[in-house]
């Protein structure tokens, strides 16, 4: 069976990402069944050739999974004609990962923190909170359909 994922890995130099030694891009359909494989592929390429702690791998896995599921479920609303693009810029000391969907975007400032006692029983609403806690910096584009997550390599 052909994988629905389109992976393109470009090694140094990456002409459209100044200073990045490696650029990894991946395009996946709006299908949550693809998330696990996409996370595995991107993490493997992001960490290749670098000494990596278990914690860094874990943080990258969780945050990528969160961002991809948000993009597929909330951004693209699982519409089959929409895609999710992952772009990872790899520097010596930093990994910067962009996840972009084709949705209309959202206001990240409007998402409440899900840790108040009365909210503990809620089934959802923890994804963005976890990303913010696990990476070193998070940014969104002005439309709110593209997240940039930055992790420092230890």
């Amino acid at each position: 069976m052909t994988s629905p994922l389109r992976l393109c890995v470009r090694r140094s130099p990456a002409p459209d990402a100044e200073g990045a030694a490696t650029l990894v891009t991946l395009r996946l359909p709006s299908d949550i069944a693809c998330v696990e494989e996409a996370v595995e592929l991107v993490v493997r390429h992001c960490l290749a050739g670098h000494e990596t702690t278990r914690k860094t791998r874990f943080r990258l896995q969780v945050c990528l999974s969160e961002a991809l599921s948000n993009a597929i479920l909330r951004g693209n609303r699982e519409e089959q004609d929409k895609w999710v693009d992952v772009r990872a810029e790899l520097f010596t000391d930093v990994i910067r990962v962009y996840v972009t969907d084709e949705g209309t975007g959202f206001d990240p400032a409007s998402v409440p923190e899900p840790i108040r006692p009365e909210q503990l029983d809620e089934l959802g609403g923890r994804g963005l909170f976890l990303i913010r806690k696990l990476v070193d910096a998070v940014h969104f584009n002005s439309q709110g359909n593209s997240i940039c997550m930055m992790l420092r390599r230890p």
Partner: protein
Amino acid sequence: MGFSQSRDASGVTVVKVDGQLIVGNRQELKDLVFTALDKGERRILIDFSQTGYIDSSGLGALVSISKRVREAGGELRLSGLNEDLRSLFELTKLDTLFAIAETPQQALSSF
């Protein structure tokens, strides 16, 4: 990768999560536990000793399972969370919602 279910000698339903518990497979875990509840099982242990990572959808599935077990008058325990997995529960304060044991053996003896 996936879930395996067994029943220990004392009658506790033990579900092991092998690999990831994420958006793509959370429903499978819920279905598995809900089916056990429907069959009358009331003591459930979910073991994460072989789990790589959990995302917020996986955490949400565990909250959903916790509610159903409570509504059925049952008991739910979690075990085998490594330091990284445990940190997810602590960050989200879900460590206050679940009974978490270090090992499956400790969890089984706590029922």
